[in-house]
């Protein structure tokens, strides 16, 4: 049973690991392969700061809230394992700031110690009159992706550095199931007008005195179009750009200035921070995550694709819940195939 995963970002690698962990014992013939034209550190996941935090509202998408929770709980369970440092996993507390009161988010009981900010805390952030404090997790892509890659390599999963042009291309080579984790460029494999870029830009600085994440929100300009500061293990990420429909992956000078000025206004001490890098990336935005099976008829063969893309600016936040859902879909494919292949008897 040959399974090909397209995409080596957090979604592709974690889906591959989840499937291998659950099924390699049950399916001795399972051969897992990962195809991608970009590997760490050149994926979208590598540019993200790595903070576990969903958007402010799940728009009634309870499934996504559940996947977020599954991811948080899974990561929390790994916090004390010896692998945590290598995974780039650690606890981080911080602030979400608003200019007006807002309803509590869907994830208030998922994170630790969620509470409203006190008046004295708000004194730290002139211009903001309401906010939350909570403890969440950081999962840095620059560490997590290599860790996932190592786990997969140890398990005998093969990696291919190549751009897959079509699902057909893989099926004609004998692949049985394709996992489409191609993120932003899923549209090239199968048109999807609902998938659009949410362009982001970040400045990396050295500001090791910053020990909290600070995310401001401007309800009018929308998510992540307002300054944020996220301290990582090696550098601090300054951001606050979300440009829907902008496909440019070039750093933009105007965006740089607005990120810099806004973040320095938020945290005056940042003026002394040394800039060590800059990056732009495209959040694969979609009204909801596409996580579903698709059967494709190819002559007299039935080929299966499991789509797992469109995670916008919350890929790291939701990844493990989606990986497990993808694994369940894979399980259902296996069940159907076994049912087709076995003689009459008790249904599996």
């Amino acid at each position: 049973m040959r399974v090909a995963v397209i995409g080596a970002g957090v979604i592709g690698l974690s889906s591959a690991l989840c499937i291998h962990e659950q099924f390699h014992g049950l399916v001795p013939s399972l051969e897992l392969e990962v195809y991608a034209d970009h590997f760490t550190p050149h994926t979208t996941s590598d540019g993200a700061a790595g903070l576990w935090q969903p958007y402010l509202s799940d728009h009634g998408n309870l499934q996504e809230t559940l996947w977020n929770k599954e991811t948080f709980d899974y990561l929390l369970g790994h916090l004390h394992s010896p692998a945590a440092k290598e995974m780039g996993l650690f606890l981080l507390s911080g602030y979400n700031l608003f200019t007006e009161p807002v309803p509590d988010p869907s994830w208030k009981n998922i994170v630790l110690g969620f509470r409203n900010l006190t008046p004295k805390e708000l004194e730290l952030f002139p211009g903001y009159s309401y906010g939350w404090f909570n403890t969440a997790l950081m999962l840095e892509g620059r560490n997590y992706l290599p860790w996932l890659t190592n786990r997969l390599t140890q398990r005998g999963v093969k990696f291919f550095h190549k751009k897959v042009e079509s699902f057909q291309e893989l099926f004609s080579q004998g692949v049985d199931v394709v996992l489409n984790c191609s993120g932003m460029r899923s549209g090239e494999l199968q048109p999807d007008p609902e998938l659009q870029p949410g362009r982001g830009q970040i400045i990396k600085v050295l500001a090791p005195w910053v020990k909290h994440f600070i995310i401001t929100h401007n309800l009018k300009s929308g998510i992540y179009n307002s300054p944020y500061v996220i301290p990582g293990s090696e550098f601090t990420v300054l951001g606050g750009v979300y440009q829907y429909g902008n496909w440019s992956e070039e750093n933009n000078a105007k965006d740089h200035k607005s990120i810099w000025d806004n973040c320095c206004q938020l945290l005056p001490a940042l003026q002394k921070a040394k800039i060590v890098g800059e990056w732009s990336g495209l959040r694969p935005a979609r009204p909801s995550v596409r996580l579903e099976r698709e059967s494709i008829r190819l002559g007299n063969l039935q080929a299966e694709v499991i789509h797992n893309y469109g995670h916008g600016g919350f890929g790291i936040t939701i990844h493990w819940g989606c990986a497990m859902a993808a694994a369940r879909l894979f399980g259902s494919i296996l069940q159907e195939r076994k049912a087709l292949g076995t003689p009459p008897g008790p249904r599996l």
């Binding site: 010896p82 945590a84 440092k85 004295k120 805390e121 005195w209 005056p268």
Partner: protein, 340 residues
């Protein structure tokens, strides 16, 4: 007295902050700092500089709270300014955890720090050996940066600083009009036998993914993330004068901290440091007049802060500076009387 000459003896956090305070409250004073050690070789440099007060048995609580509040407010303003990184002042959040529920669930300082509240059940799950905890956000003063920043401000205010060991405060009479004794542990040699060392050994490690503090309510085990290094502690060895690091103690500190925060197993560049907390039943902030053969030397004492130096330094500096002001008025009063 046109320009009173004030000598501040001691260049740790107490001496430097007191000197700075005096330059601000008494602009006409000429302030000089004398110390046998300057940063990075003071006791303050070993400390993590966390604003979590120590409780002094014989100082009234309201006075301790006032000192803490003044210190917190002062540092809070700096942490919020462009100078924060240079001064080494930053906010840090975390947990104080207890193996058994403490008698006093609300410490006197709970409304001074930010967001103080009991830990939730979910948060306590991270600490299986502990049954109760408190979560809050406080400030940390990293040394050497904070001391160097104080030195910079002092120089800008015209303060002279000299390396000099003062064996007897009296030796300063004639050279200075007022002496401020911020000698910390040195006050023992100067004659205060109520002062005793409480030896503290710490590890300073590279573990930049540790962004939160964790402190065991017994005060012995703590993890305090600083700007570049995380301080792991510690010990409280009453009466020990040894400044030599002990390898067995280092191992024990590391193990205790790893059991609170397992990821510390991956810590690198471990440095071992020792400091002697200049401890006393109460902090001595007090005027005294030394006198020999008709000559008087006013002394303001400001020492004995033990485990709580950083937490109350600005408050005691303010009080000491006020006492200096009173001294100057007294001197000016008596010199006017002398002229009549």
């Amino acid at each position: 007295m046109a320009s009173p000459k004030v000598a501040v003896v001691g260049a740790g956090v107490i001496g430097l902050s007191t000197a700075l305070c005096i330059t601000e409250t008494c602009p006409s004073c000429s302030v000089t700092v004398l110390s046998d050690q300057f940063s990075p070789n003071t006791t303050s440099d070993v400390a993590a500089g966390m604003l979590i007060p120590h409780t002094y048995p014989d100082t009234p609580i309201h006075r301790q709270k006032q000192w803490f509040k003044e210190t917190f407010t002062y540092l809070f303003a700096i942490s919020n300014s462009a100078e924060a990184s240079e001064a080494g002042i930053h906010l840090v959040s975390g947990w104080q955890v207890f193996k058994s529920t403490p008698k006093e669930e609300l410490p006197f300082w709970s409304d001074v720090v930010l967001g103080f509240r009991p830990m939730s059940e979910a948060e306590l799950q991270k600490f299986p050996q502990h049954r109760f905890g408190q979560a809050f956000t406080t400030l940390k003063c990293d040394c050497p940066p904070y001391l160097l920043w104080l030195e910079k401000k002092l120089k800008a205010a015209g303060t002279q600083m000299y390396t000099r060991k003062v064996s007897d405060l009296w030796e300063l009479h004639g050279e200075y009009d007022i002496v401020v004794n911020c000698t910390g542990m040195g006050a023992h040699e100067l004659g205060d036998k109520q002062l005793f060392p409480v030896r503290g050994q710490v590890l300073k490690v590279h573990a930049p993914w540790v962004k939160q503090f964790i402190r065991d309510g017994d005060g012995l085990t703590y993890i305090y993330p600083g700007i570049h290094r995380v301080t792991l502690g510690g010990t409280r060895e009453k009466g020990s004068w040894s400044l030599s690091p002990d390898a067995g103690t280092a191992r024990d500190i590391f193990d205790r901290c790893c059991s609170l925060e397992p990821s510390l197993q991956g810590a690198q560049d471990i440095e071992v440091k020792v400091g002697l907390r200049p401890s006393r039943q109460c902090v001595r902030v007090q005027r005294e007049v030394l006198s020999q053969g008709g000559v008087k030397l006013p002394v303001i004492h400001n020492y004995g802060h033990g485990a709580g130096g950083f937490s109350v330094h600005k408050g005691t500096a303010n009080e000491a500076a006020q006492l200096v002001g009173e001294c100057i008025s007294a001197l000016q009063g008596s010199s006017s009387r002398a002229k009549l």
